[in-house]
């Protein structure tokens, strides 16, 4: 019966593709398309959850254009399909109101078309087990993402973000093509199946390095992250949710899948990834602190979380290289758990940010404020996401980071002190900075009073946009309290990533997780009791409520509130990409002064962009080959043909 699961997933892919096509029509066809997409997500969700719950892997071998192609649904595929179809299905619903199809001039229809293709192609990425077809669906996904990012292509910054993304993703694909060829040599053919019993070879290291380059671009690991903030901020919010919550994870999936095919992991590569992940995490959250654009802030936080996930993968690889089942379980288990958690809370945060953008029309947080009073439901449902992204108990991300902490402490005991200590300190620092960044995010957007007219008349969106947020918010808490039920699933996925590893999580972590769950429930109960105690005292009349105590100063204005920039003042000045502009104050009666800061990415804007511009200047030379006369192009065709003939004639002599 387990073939049924794979068939469910494949038919869901078909449903999403058709859903995208139907949406091009508009009207009742678009509504039918939405229904098909949601049905597809439900089908894929059922299939994937059954695979996670212990159904054996289902394989389908077919011939496509004469090539043998394998589709397979195993626990690792399922672990990535579940968040994809969760966020994908909810995002489709959310998008109905967020981006109505008749707005503006057909962009709504192409948006829905490419939304369908990106979900379909991403699902294929997770179930295809053949090198060439993998590259094809990977490319399909990347190009769909390009069109989604450039939905608002009439704006120059969106076009630029789209182009930077397109170039980056193709650089990654270049590395992946080389990787697929090498892997084909290693496995003896393009179909992917784990190489068992083979001895390690030097080529394994090269395969992993190329995989890291190719997949690292997609996952946004430093220094390959620079395309990410612009692309994720510019896309429509429900698309940002898909890109951040799931598409980045295809990079992690690729790393895990490719490494699971190899018989062994070379020593040292795990520690390197661990250190790189640690740096990525700190870099990402440090930059998030300085952003004024709240969607860019969320994008940088995705870089941080992908860094945390990369740390887990690095720890797991270290465990595989040293044959330590405990490190394997904690590293890979923590990474996968964080993949799920990040998908849930980042989807929620992007949906929430979309609601704010929808209501106020600005991405600049410094002109907003006081939205909790104007958009109470949005403020309420986004709050669990804010606590989760700061990795605070009792929400889900605390637990996945707790797995990683356990793994790092274990690595410390095993005698890999340096990478473990660096990663421990980085993880603690990341947690602390994430709390600062998201206290700032929530407080500047939702608390206090409006800083300008932009947010003055904001109001909650309708239930179509709120319901997906509510579902994800509840899931944030449910995953935090119900983690015990997930342990067997994580064990199954780890068994796929590291063939032959013993399941350790249920036996090793079950008791500790039960204690944590108990304490978290106690925490909620105590909080509820304290709240009830406060509520029991006589409540003052809200009509008589005084203004905030401003230390005796009675003429306070909303502009005197702490802004996001002033809140992060102590931190952002140390970032390499932050520039402040202010003239010095001179004389006794200085004229009004203006103060302005701008934030650039240290890697993308300061290092890569100028060099790319210089390179482009050089490459202009090739324009001379294109004079624009038909005759010259015909000459090129003739010369090429002659060259091919010569090669055919001389091939025998050259190759001997």
């Amino acid at each position: 019966m387990h073939m049924l699961d794979l068939i469910l997933v494949l038919s869901s892919i078909g449903a999403w593709a058709v859903s995208g096509l139907m949406s091009l029509g508009g009207g009742w066809k678009a509504r039918l398309g939405t229904g098909l997409g949601v049905l597809g997500s439900l089908a894929a969700g059922v299939g994937a959850i059954r695979a996670l719950a212990g159904a054996p892997p289902a394989t389908l071998n077919v011939h496509l254009w004469g090539l043998p192609v394998r589709f397979e649904l195993d626990a690792l595929s399922a672990a990535f399909l579940v968040p994809l179809h969760l966020i994908g299905g909810l995002g489709l619903l959310y998008g109905r109101e967020y981006w109505p199809e008749d707005l503006p001039k057909g962009a709504g229809r192409t948006l829905r078309f490419f939304y369908g293709t990106i979900i379909a192609s991403m699902s294929l990425v997770f179930v295809v087990r053949q090198g060439i077809l993998f590259l094809v669906v990977w490319e399909l996904m990347a190009v769909s993402a390009f069109f989604l990012v450039s939905t608002e292509h009439e704006r120059a910054d969106v076009r630029r973000a789209g182009w930077v993304y397109l170039v980056s993703t193709h650089l990654g694909t270049l590395a992946l093509t080389a990787m697929v060829i090498l892997l084909g040599h290693r496995l003896g053919g393009f179909p992917w199946a784990p190489l068992r019993g083979a001895s390690p070879a030097a080529v394994d290291g090269w395969i992993l390095l190329l995989a890291f380059l190719g997949f690292g671009f997609k996952a946004g690991v430093f220094p390959l992250h620079f395309w990410l903030p612009g692309a994720h901020a510019s896309a429509p919010s429900h698309v940002s949710a898909i890109l951040s919550a799931v598409m980045l994870k295809t990079g992690i999936y690729g790393l895990l899948r490719v490494s699971s095919l190899l018989p062994a992991i070379p020593r040292g590569i795990g520690g390197t990834l661990l250190a790189l992940g640690a740096f990525t995490a700190v870099f990402g959250i440090g930059n998030a602190l300085a952003q004024r654009d709240y969607k860019r802030l969320l994008a940088y936080s995705s870089i941080e979380n992908l860094g945390v996930i990369a740390m887990g993968v690095g720890l797991g690889w270290t465990g595989r290289a040293t044959h330590d089942p405990w490190l394997v379980a904690l590293g890979f288990g923590g990474a996968l758990f964080h993949v799920w958690n990040h998908a849930v809370f980042k989807g929620l945060l992007f949906f929430g940010a979309g609601s704010v953008l929808h209501a106020t029309g600005t991405r600049d947080m410094e002109v907003l404020g006081g939205l909790a009073a104007r958009m109470p439901r949005t403020a309420w449902w986004i709050f669990p996401g804010v606590l989760a992204v700061a990795a605070l108990p009792p929400f889900n991300a605390f637990l996945s980071e707790w797995f990683l902490y356990r793994g790092l402490f274990a690595a410390l005991q095993r005698g890999y002190p340096w990478s473990a200590v660096v990663a421990l300190v980085a993880l603690a620092l990341t947690g602390g900075l994430a709390a600062v960044a998201f206290a700032r995010f929530y407080a500047v957007l939702f608390l206090g009073q409006p800083r300008s007219a932009a947010g003055q008349h904001a109001h909650d969106p309708s239930g179509v946009m709120l319901a997906p947020m509510a579902a994800l918010a509840i899931l944030c808490l449910a995953l935090g309290l119900g983690s015990l039920l997930l342990l067997p699933m994580l064990d199954r996925v780890v068994a796929v990533i590291a063939p032959g590893a013993k399941p350790m999580l249920v036996s090793g972590m079950g008791r500790d997780l039960a204690w944590i769950t108990g304490l978290e429930v106690l925490l909620l109960l105590l909080g509820g009791l304290a709240l009830a105690w406060i509520r029991r005292s006589p409540r003052p009349d809200p009509a008589l409520a005084p203004p905030t105590w401003d230390c005796g100063y009675a003429a306070g204005t909303t502009r005197m509130q702490y802004t996001g920039s002033s809140f992060a003042d102590g931190w952002s000045v140390h970032l390499p990409g932050v520039r402040s502009h202010m003239r010095r104050i001179k004389g006794l009666f200085p004229k009004p002064l203006r103060f302005r800061t701008e934030v650039q990415d240290a890697m993308g804007d300061l290092l890569v962009a100028p060099r790319m511009a210089a390179l482009a200047e050089r490459l202009l030379w090739f324009r001379r080959l294109q004079p624009g006369f038909l005759s010259v192009y015909l000459l090129y065709v003739l010369l090429t043909l002659l060259g091919v003939f010569l090669w055919m004639l001389l091939r025998a002599q050259v190759l001997g």
Binding site: R406, L424, I516, G527, P540, P546
Partner: protein
Amino acid sequence: MPDALLTRILHLLMHLLTVVLLAPLIPGLITKVKARMAGRVGPPVFQLYYDLAKLARKQAVYSRTTTWVFLLGPVGTVAAMLAASLLVPFGHTPAPVAFEGDVILFAYLLGLSRFLTVLSALDTGSSFEGMGAAREVAFAALAEPALFLGFAALAKVSGSTSLTLMLGSLGVGSGAVTAPLILIIAGWSIVYLAENSRIPVDDPTTHLELTMIHEVMVLDHSGRPFALVLYGASLKLLVLSALLLDLMLPKAAHAWQDWARFFVGLGGLAGVVGLVESATARFQMTHVPRFLVAGILASAFAFLLLLV
């Protein structure tokens, strides 16, 4: 063994009673010592109990800017601190709840209480409370690495990541790790003063809002919410005192002697804090980070000593 079970239940009761009832006594002791040092009689040591009882009867005032987030600070602090107190061993008696990795839960519960306090301060929209919140998170981010490096060093020594095993089996003079232990105590003392907003980092009795850190974040709280703020602060003081005392107290022959030593140590620590507050002035705000970095260095050095 019903006898062992009975002892465990008695220890648990002692632990819970100490947490719930004794916590407000420590700030009272510190204030008394400070008053005596300044030649005053000072308020009674039970003053905080009286204050809490009075605040519980008072009607609260809520600014018209505030929302439900405003209540989360006091509520979250008390809940998180009570939960965290269950993880810390008092003296050398095992904590009521102990499992591998509880040290991380402990650290993140502290983080949760700080996060909610900061949000409830920013909910008022006051520039002063924003200032306090910005300072609090900045200094906390420097205090946290010192705490964590200390934990990493203790985990390396004890081979465990449970607070009960990490702290309960140690103590000055118990073995070969004396030098790193003293460094950790030094580093954590700085964390202790900073986290509990004591002089020389912050002055809990200052009256100038511009110079406050923690106190300015709770300016708008009143009535029962403010009672919870004060109670939560005293719980935090107790929990962090226990953390520090566990490292310093030698293990006694009998469990009840351990309890006695713990209570005496608690009083002694309060006295020392009172003396420090009487003898030193608070640092200029810009100099506080240097003080905190000294804490990080002490913990880091302890860790390095353990690696070689």
